[in-house]
C-alpha cells in the first residue's frame, strides 16, 4: 500500500476508533490517536503477516506494549482481516473478547498479553532471539509509550537486546510527551530519548510519527545496522487529528460527549 492510501486508511481507523470509544463510553483515545499511523504502516506496509495463518512460524511479530491502546490494534487487525469488522462494536461489552487490553489467547494476531507497562520489550527480545537461534529472517516490532519507558524492565531489555546483537528487533517509542496524569517533562523526564538508546548500543532514528513517508522509510529493513537493534523515536501527538484533544493531557482516557464526538468526527472526515 502506498503512503497516500496508508493515510486514508489511518484516517478511517481513527474514525472507527473514535466511534467505538464513544459508543463504549470508555477507551484511551489520546494514545490511540497517537499510535494509529504507526500501527497502520506496520500492518499494511512493512510486516509480513497473513490473517489466514495467524500462527505462521515465519510471520513478523508486533507487540503493542502500550496495551491500553488495544482498541487501535483491534481496528487495525479488523481492517487487515484478523477479526470481523463488525466485532469492533463489541469493544468492552459483556463477554466480548475485545477487552481493554489485548489477549493473544482470544484475539488472532495478538502476540502477547499486554496491559501492565514495561512487559512488551522483554518479550520482544525473546522473540528476536528465537529467530536468531533458528537463522530465520522474520522481524520483531515493539511499540511502547514514552511514559512507559520509565519502567525499569525496558532498560533491562534494552541492555540485553544490544548485548545479543538483535538487529532483527525494532523498538518504536510513541513519543507523544504526555502520560496519564501530566506531561512527561513534569513527571519523570526521560527526554531526550535518542542519546539514551544510543548509549546502550542501539541504532536510533527520529521521525515524525504521523508522516507516512517517514514512518515507512524508518521501518524499512534498509536502516538495520548489522548486529544492532533499532529504536525509532516517533514524535507524535496524543489525540492527533482532533483539534481539542491534540497534545492535551485531559484526553488520556476521557470520553467525548455528543457534541465533542460530532466535532471530532467532522474534523477527521474533513482531513481525508
Amino acid at each position: 500500500m502506498d503512503t497516500h492510501d496508508l493515510r486514508l486508511l489511518a484516517n478511517r481507523i481513527r474514525r472507527r476508533d473514535l466511534q467505538a470509544v464513544y459508543e463504549a463510553g470508555a477507551g484511551h483515545i489520546g494514545g490511540e490517536m497517537s499510535v494509529t499511523d504507526l500501527l497502520t504502516a506496520l500492518y499494511f506496509h512493512t510486516m509480513k503477516v497473513d490473517p489466514a495463518a495467524p500462527m505462521d512460524p515465519n510471520r513478523d511479530r508486533l507487540i503493542l506494549s502500550k496495551g491500553h491502546t488495544a482498541l487501535a490494534l483491534y481496528v487495525v487487525l479488523s481492517e487487515k482481516g484478523f477479526l470481523p469488522k463488525e466485532e469492533i462494536a463489541t469493544f468492552l461489552q459483556h463477554n466480548s473478547r475485545l477487552n481493554g487490553h489485548p489477549n493473544r489467547v482470544k484475539v488472532p494476531g495478538v502476540e502477547t498479553n499486554t496491559g501492565p507497562l514495561g512487559h512488551g520489550l522483554p518479550v520482544g527480545v525473546g522473540m528476536a532471539k528465537a529467530a536468531k537461534l533458528d537463522g530465520a529472517d522474520w522481524r520483531t516490532f515493539v511499540i511502547t509509550g514514552d511514559g512507559e519507558m520509565q519502567e525499569g524492565s525496558n532498560w533491562e531489555a534494552i541492555m540485553a537486546a544490544a548485548h545479543f546483537g538483535l538487529d532483527n528487533l525494532t523498538l518504536i517509542i510513541d513519543h507523544n510527551r504526555l502520560q496519564q496524569g501530566a506531561r512527561l517533562e513534569d513527571t519523570n523526564n526521560l527526554a531526550p530519548l535518542p542519546p539514551k538508546l544510543a548509549a546502550f548500543g542501539w541504532t536510533v532514528l527520529e521521525i515524525d510519527g504521523h508522516d507516512m513517508d517517514q514512518i515507512t522509510a524508518a521501518l524499512s529493513a534498509d536502516n538495520i545496522a548489522s548486529g544492532k537493534p533499532t529504536c525509532i523515536v516517533a514524535h507524535t501527538n496524543k489525540g492527533h487529528g482532533i483539534s481539542f484533544m491534540s497534545d492535551n493531557v485531559a484526553w488520556h482516557h476521557k470520553v467525548p460527549n455528543e457534541a465533542q464526538y460530532k466535532q471530532a468526527m467532522q474534523e477527521l472526515e474533513n482531513a481525508q
Binding site: P57, R61, N103, R104, V105, E111, T112, N113, T114, G115, P116, G118, H119, L121, P122, V123, G124, V125, G126, M127, A128, K129, A130, A131, L133, D134, T140, G152, S153, E156, A157, M159, A160, H163, F164
Partner: protein
C-alpha cells in the same frame, strides 16, 4: 523401629535437573535455558558447554528474564527459565502473571534453591512464599519434587507438557524416595507409606522427614499414611479426600509459610468437601532467624520427632 534413611546417600536435586535437561536438549534443539547470571547456582555450566548458543544469560535482570522466556516460547522454543526461586518468583511475579500465565506461554519456570535452602543468608534469600504467589495464578502448575528421581521425572514431564509450569527445586541434599523409573503425573500424589490413623502430606525436602516421622509413629503403635504431594496446583483432590475419609486426620508439612501454600491448598479441599481435623506445619508467618536450612526446619517444628508429636496431638482431636 528401623530409622529410615540412616545411611542413605543424599543427593542435590539440581544435578538431576541439569542431567535431564542436557539429555532432553541433546534430543530437541528447541530446548533452551534462560538464566540471570545464575549459571553456576543453577548448575548450568554443563549445559553451557554442550549448547553454548542455547544458554541465554540475560544478566541480573529477572523481569527481563521471564519476558525473554515468553518471547522465546512465542518463537517456538521451549525455555527453561532458571533462577534462585525468591528472585524468579518475587521479582518477576507480574511477568509470570501476564507473560506466562495469562498469555499461556510454554515457559518452564525453574526456581532453584527454594524454601530456606539458603539458610543463614536470611529471609531475602528464602523463598517461602512462592507456592502461594504462583498457586494463585491460572495455567501455571506448581510442582515441588522430593528427590532426584522425581526431579528427573518432573523435568521430562515439563519438556513435553504444552504450557507453563513452576518447578520448585532445592539444593539441600535428600535421600531417594521414589522408585527408579518413576513417571510423574501432574496432580497425582504418591503414597510413600500406607496407614490408617492419620495422613501426613508433604513435598520437596519435607517428604523424607514425613516418612521418618511415620516410622517414629509406628514405634508408638500409630499407623500413619504418608503422601508425597509434589503438585500443589492442581491439587490431588482424590488423594486428599481418600485420606480424610480413611484416616480421619491430616497433617501437612512444607518448607513454606503456612499462609497459602501446600497446607492451605489441602485445607481448601478439606473445608469444601470433607472436614476433618488438620494441622498445618510450616513457617508460621514470620521471617526466619539465622540458621542452616536443616536447622530451620527443625526449629519450626518439622524434625521427624516433632512431626510425629504433632500427629499424636492431631489424632487426639479426632471425634
Amino acid at each position: 523401629m528401623t530409622a529410615p534413611f540412616q545411611n542413605a546417600k543424599l543427593h542435590d536435586c539440581r544435578d538431576a535437573f541439569t542431567a535431564a535437561l542436557e539429555e532432553l536438549a541433546a534430543a530437541d534443539g528447541n530446548i533452551v535455558a534462560v538464566c540471570n547470571d545464575s549459571v553456576g547456582s543453577s548448575k548450568l555450566t554443563g549445559f553451557r558447554d554442550k549448547f553454548p548458543e542455547r544458554l541465554i544469560n540475560v544478566g541480573i535482570a529477572e523481569q527481563n528474564m521471564v519476558g525473554v522466556g515468553a518471547g522465546l516460547a512465542n518463537g517456538g522454543k521451549i525455555p527453561f527459565v532458571c533462577a534462585a526461586s525468591p528472585f524468579l518468583t518475587g521479582r518477576a511475579l507480574e511477568q509470570i502473571k501476564a507473560d506466562v500465565a495469562y498469555s499461556q506461554t510454554n515457559v518452564k519456570l525453574v526456581g532453584i534453591s527454594s524454601g530456606m535452602a539458603y539458610g543463614e543468608l536470611g529471609p531475602t534469600h528464602h523463598s517461602i512464599e512462592d507456592f502461594a504467589w504462583v498457586r494463585a495464578l491460572p495455567h501455571v502448575p506448581v510442582i515441588a519434587p522430593a528427590d532426584r528421581i522425581e526431579t528427573d521425572a518432573v523435568i521430562r514431564w515439563a519438556a513435553t507438557h504444552q504450557g507453563g509450569c513452576f518447578l520448585r527445586l532445592s539444593r539441600v541434599g535428600v535421600p531417594d524416595l521414589l522408585p527408579e523409573g518413576h513417571v510423574f503425573e501432574l496432580g497425582r500424589a504418591n503414597v510413600l507409606c500406607e496407614g490408617s490413623d492419620v495422613t501426613i502430606i508433604a513435598n520437596g525436602v519435607l517428604s523424607h522427614r514425613a516418612v521418618t516421622a511415620a516410622a517414629v509413629l509406628e514405634g508408638r503403635g500409630i499407623s500413619a499414611r504418608v503422601l508425597n504431594m509434589a503438585t500443589v496446583r492442581p491439587i490431588d483432590q482424590d488423594a486428599i479426600l481418600s485420606a480424610a475419609r480413611q484416616t480421619g486426620a491430616i497433617l501437612t508439612c512444607e518448607e513454606h509459610t503456612t499462609f497459602g501454600g501446600l497446607g492451605s491448598a489441602v485445607a481448601e479441599v478439606i473445608v469444601d468437601h470433607h472436614p476433618v481435623p488438620m494441622t498445618r506445619l510450616g513457617v508460621p508467618g514470620v521471617f526466619a532467624h539465622t540458621a542452616s536450612a536443616e536447622q530451620l526446619l527443625d526449629d519450626f517444628g518439622m524434625s521427624p520427632q516433632a512431626i510425629a508429636d504433632s500427629a499424636v496431638a492431631l489424632i487426639k482431636r479426632k471425634g
